[in-house]
């Protein structure tokens, strides 16, 4: 819990980075907002039918609109899917900068330093993402296969409820296994960062052993943060239900609430990485290998980090090394 709270403090102290990330997210999302507003506005035209949507969902208005403008909406959703993939890649890129910030909490937050850290670790974290995807996909498939085979084997003997439970258990186990792999991925990133490990399989393996050895301090907080994110999602439904988007003022109020929740979710993600960093720093002794982690673009030498978090790899190398 101490490390978890310390990660919270670190994340809070890195609020500027969280804001940068949120700003990037919001800017990218404008690629959805503006065309969507134009498309929906053009679809509504001078029709009065769409005002019914301000009182809640109206299936007739919706289905008539989709029948006429479904292609345009599909295009918007396609943009959304590509944006999501871009955001995934961007988050791989941002992870290096975030970890560097956690390694240097006393330093002033500078965009140049942050971006340099991002660039430094992008390739190895991209490789790690491939490993994470491979393992999560493989394990999820195995769980799904086992669940499906169990369902098929039991189909002729069990009741509907029992079959439902088989499905639910399969799904829960699948999701938990997936979450575990992603959690291991976070710890692998930290190990790659701290130990300058370029081999994503090795880092993933070591992180896996570490997470499984300390589930309470690693996977527990990870699940808690996911649960908080999910709960915030539920909270939004409650607020939406309470206020409702009936006119422009309420639309703006709920827009602000939405963006607050998105910012909070970004904070949670950074906090999760921070937790991985603080936990692994506390429990894994520094390696004796002196490894390069960062190229500081500033001419001045780096300031020492705060005592609680001694840098494990203080040597600064030039890019050519």
């Amino acid at each position: 819990m101490k490390n978890f709270l310390r990660a919270f403090t670190l994340t809070r102290q890195s609020a500027r980075i969280v804001l940068w990330i949120y700003g990037t997210n919001a800017l990218l999302s404008l690629l959805i907002l503006l065309p969507a507003y134009a498309t929906l506005g053009a679809g509504a035209g001078h029709s009065m039918a769409f005002t019914r949507l301000l009182d809640g969902f109206d299936y007739t208005v919706y289905s008539d609109f989709m029948a006429k403008s479904g292609v345009a909406v599909d295009a918007l959703l396609s943009v959304g899917r590509w944006l999501s993939i871009l955001w995934l890649v961007l988050n791989v890129f941002l992870a290096g900068g975030i970890l560097l910030r956690f390694a240097q909490p006393g330093e002033p937050i500078r965009a140049s330093t942050f971006l340099a850290g991002c660039a430094q670790y992008f390739s190895r974290f991209a490789g790690l993402l491939g490993v994470v995807m491979l393992f999560s996909g493989l394990l999820f498939f195995i769980v799904l296969l086992v669940g499906t085979l169990a369902g098929a084997a039991l189909y002729n003997t069990v009741t509907e409820q029992e079959l439902f439970y088989v499905g639910i258990v399969t799904l829960i186990v699948g999701v938990l296994v997936g979450a575990l792999v992603f959690c291991i991925g976070d710890y692998a990133k930290v190990l790659q960062f701290r130990q300058d490990d370029h081999n994503p399989f090795r880092a993933f393996g070591r992180a896996g052993r570490f997470v499984l050895a300390h589930p309470g301090q690693t996977f527990g907080p990870y699940l808690l943060l996911i649960a908080i994110g999910t709960a915030s999602f539920g909270l939004y439904f409650l607020i939406d239900d309470l206020i409702g988007m009936h006119n422009w003022p309420t639309i703006i109020i709920l827009f602000v609430v939405q963006q607050g929740l998105i910012a909070a979710r970004i904070f949670l993600k950074v906090w999760s990485l921070g937790t991985a960093y603080t936990v692994s720093t506390a429990l894994i002794p520094p390696t004796t290998r002196q490894t390069a982690i960062f190229v500081d673009p500033s001419p001045e030498p780096m300031a020492p980090t705060e005592p609680v978090e001694p840098p494990t790899n203080p040597t600064v190398h030039s890019p050519g090394e």
Binding site: S29, S47, M48, T51, F57, S63, A67, M245, W248, Q258
Partner: protein, 651 residues
């Protein structure tokens, strides 16, 4: 003694007088003894059919349906047309149970008059294929008679048959220890005398079993003895009148049903029985018996309350449900193919799933739909092979009315997380938004409708144009039409022209010449035609001329269906003006000269033309609001942002 004789005579007379008159013509009457072998999934039956020639023709042959032969092999017409799949359920070709089913007539004898021996007709049986000449289809058999049956005469046939039930995927059969036994016995076709429906001369109407068709039969009395293992719970058409246990661990139940067109039954040792009853305002009581799967026991209230809602609605708006009982069967998930089916006084529920939230009202919808068939299949025995729309379409229209009135006009089917949909909206959407809503008419033989369009054209299109008729003539006139149709045609075999004749009789009587001397123009488009309706209000403009505004409103007819349209014009001083247009030309320009300017106008403001494929383009305002676009653009952005953030956890 004399007094005693008089008393006996009076008693007999009184009891005769107390016998209620038959409600139906009772043309085809069955006495069947059937034994279910629950291990082999077979039936062994003895059937006595008493059939009356109500025509003026000499009947030289009888024709029978052997519906179970639809499942005999892959070569039957049903299997060829369906590919072994119906409503999402597929035949289990790779399972350990034999999935196929069949029925064979072992012998058929014509019972002789007194002192005349019975005559075997077994060797004269011939399979026929009146619809598609598929020689491998054995779902219809003809039985030539050695002596023609004169008008008014009755024939009695003793039929021994054996059947193997299919594994359930299409209405009937077995699944584990659950049996839903429908279309299971040799069933005589309908002899249509000249003048009945479209018959130009007397003829048998006995179609093969098709993928997209249900049934057509004459009314009769059924006395059925079902023998099956003691531990099985049962339900059936009609009433259980007697039950006795046999020495061999079986029991025999006697079921009796008057004035019905079919007989189906179910058996399972697992049923949980829930009893209830409904009483009409006039005091008629209907006992409701739900045979639930144990895991659905807590959901029986959903089936029963929706059945009560349907009983009350039909009782009020159509006429009395004449039977004393209704049985609702809840199939297990592994026998879901038998769900959502109707038989006289006996229906199967569907979509009853253990964890289904109350705000998704699929079980209610299915129960109400299947109950509606008591009117449109049983009491009005239309030909479902040739005019399925008269059953399914009318029933879908009433399903919308009952479900929407009972559970909410915009949220009757789904009301979950702000997402709402009503039954009528679903029906309309399923018709007007298909790739080509003009793919065909509602009218026609089911197996000859355009590929894959059976559901759209018979159920959804019909329900939507009936709602349009409802809108045009108004609910009171619509109810009068339906009640007249019901009263005039119950216990008979109505067809399209019978219904249209009633519409043409009542509409001019109640609405004068508003829609012309008849409504044939309407049915020519919606029933027999494939026209598509789309009216759009395309512009509103104002020009100041002195102290007045010259306003122009334009309405376009974008589809080829021509229906009368009302246009509501709203002025900036709050006044409104309703203008009627016959909707015939491709475009209508309305010019008005008023002291106020037109703010907005709506074509078909009351949404009477429910068949209109785009109701969003029916209005035009000079002061549109961008708030709806803002609302959904913001929501879409939020959802995409959330998706992005979920993916970020992978990084």
């Amino acid at each position: 003694m004399k007094h005693l004789s008089l008393l006996a005579f009076l008693t007999t007379l009184t009891s005769f007088a107390q016998q209620p008159a038959p409600l139906s013509p009772r043309i085809a009457n069955y006495k069947i003894d059937v034994t279910l072998d629950t291990d082999r999934k077979t039936l062994a039956g003895r059937e006595t059919l008493t059939w009356r020639n109500t025509s003026t023709d000499l009947i030289r042959e009888l024709q029978f349906h052997l519906y179970l032969n639809a499942f005999r092999d892959e070569k039957s017409t049903f299997m060829r047309e369906s590919g072994g799949e119906l409503r999402g359920e597929e035949i289990d070709r790779s399972g350990k149970d034999d999935p196929y089913g069949s029925i064979d007539i072992v012998s058929i004898n014509q019972r002789g008059q007194t002192a005349v021996p019975s005559e075997s007709l077994t060797r004269q049986l011939r399979f026929i294929q009146p619809d598609d000449r598929n020689r491998n289809d054995r779902t219809v058999v003809r039985v030539p008679l050695t002596k023609p049956l004169a008008p008014g005469e009755t024939i009695t046939l003793d039929i021994v048959f054996k059947a193997k039930l299919p594994k359930i995927f299409a209405r009937t059969g077995f699944s584990r220890d659950y049996f839903l036994v429908g279309q299971w016995f040799p069933k005589v076709g309908v002899y249509e005398p000249k003048g009945e429906r479209y018959a130009k001369q007397g003829q048998w109407n006995c179609h093969q079993f098709h993928a997209n068709s249900e049934f057509y039969a004459d009314y009769g009395v059924y006395d059925v003895n079902v023998t099956l293992p003691l531990n099985y719970l049962t339900g059936a058409t009609g009433l259980l009148t007697q039950e006795k246990n046999n020495a061999n661990g079986t029991k025999t139940q006697h079921w009796h049903a008057d004035d019905v067109v079919d007989f189906a039954w179910t058996a399972s040792p697992r049923f949980q029985v829930v009893n209830d009853q409904w009483k009409s305002p006039t005091g008629h009581t209907v006992r409701i018996r739900a045979l639930m799967q144990p895991e659905h026991g807590h959901q029986a209230v959903r089936n029963i309350s929706s059945a009560k809602a349907a009983l009350a609605y039909f009782d009020k708006h159509m006429g009395q449900y004449p039977f004393p009982n209704l049985t609702i069967v809840d199939p297990p998930f592994h026998g879901a193919g038998s769900g959502g089916m109707e038989y006289p006084t006996f229906i199967t529920a569907g979509e009853t799933v253990s964890f289904l939230p109350n705000s998704i009202r699929l079980p209610e919808l299915v129960t109400i739909h299947e109950f509606g068939h008591q009117y449109f299949m049983q009491l009005l025995a239309s030909n479902e092979f040739e005019e399925a729309w008269l059953d399914e379409g009318f029933n879908q229209y009433y399903e919308g009315r009952v479900v929407d009135e009972t559970y909410g006009s915009h949220s009757s089917v789904i009301d979950l997380f702000g997402y709402r949909m009503s039954d009528s909206e679903f029906a309309r959407d399923s018709y007007v938004h298909v790739i080509n809503p003009g793919s065909g008419p509602s009218f026609g033989n089911t197996w000859q409708l355009p590929d894959g369009q059976y559901g759209t054209l018979t159920y959804m299109k019909t329900a939507t144009w009936l709602r349009t008729l409802d809108g045009l003539v108004g609910r009171p006139v619509m109810d009068e039409i339906m009640q007249t149709y019901f009263i005039r045609w119950r216990w008979k075999h109505p067809c399209a022209t019978d219904f249209i004749a009633i519409v043409n009789e009542i509409v001019p009587k109640r609405l004068g010449n508003r829609y012309g001397p008849d409504m044939n123009w309407f049915f020519a488009q919606v029933l027999y035609g494939d026209q598509v309706c789309d009216y759009a209000l395309t512009s509103v403009s104002n020009k100041k001329e002195g102290t007045k505004y010259e306003s122009t409103i334009r309405v376009d007819r974008l589809g080829d269906m021509k229906l009368p349209v009302e246009v509501l014009v709203h002025f900036d001083n709050g006044r409104e003006k309703l203008i009627r247009w016959d909707g015939q030309s491709g475009m209508k320009t309305i010019k008005l000269s008023q002291s106020a300017r037109v703010l907005w106008a709506k074509a078909d403001p009351a949404q009477k033309l429910y068949v209109d494929k785009n109701l969003n383009n029916n209005s035009f305002t000079l002061e549109p609001t961008s708030a709806p676009a803002g609302r959904y653009a913001v929501k879409l952005m939020f959802w995409i942002q959330n998706l992005m953030q979920w993916l970020a956890w992978l990084a």
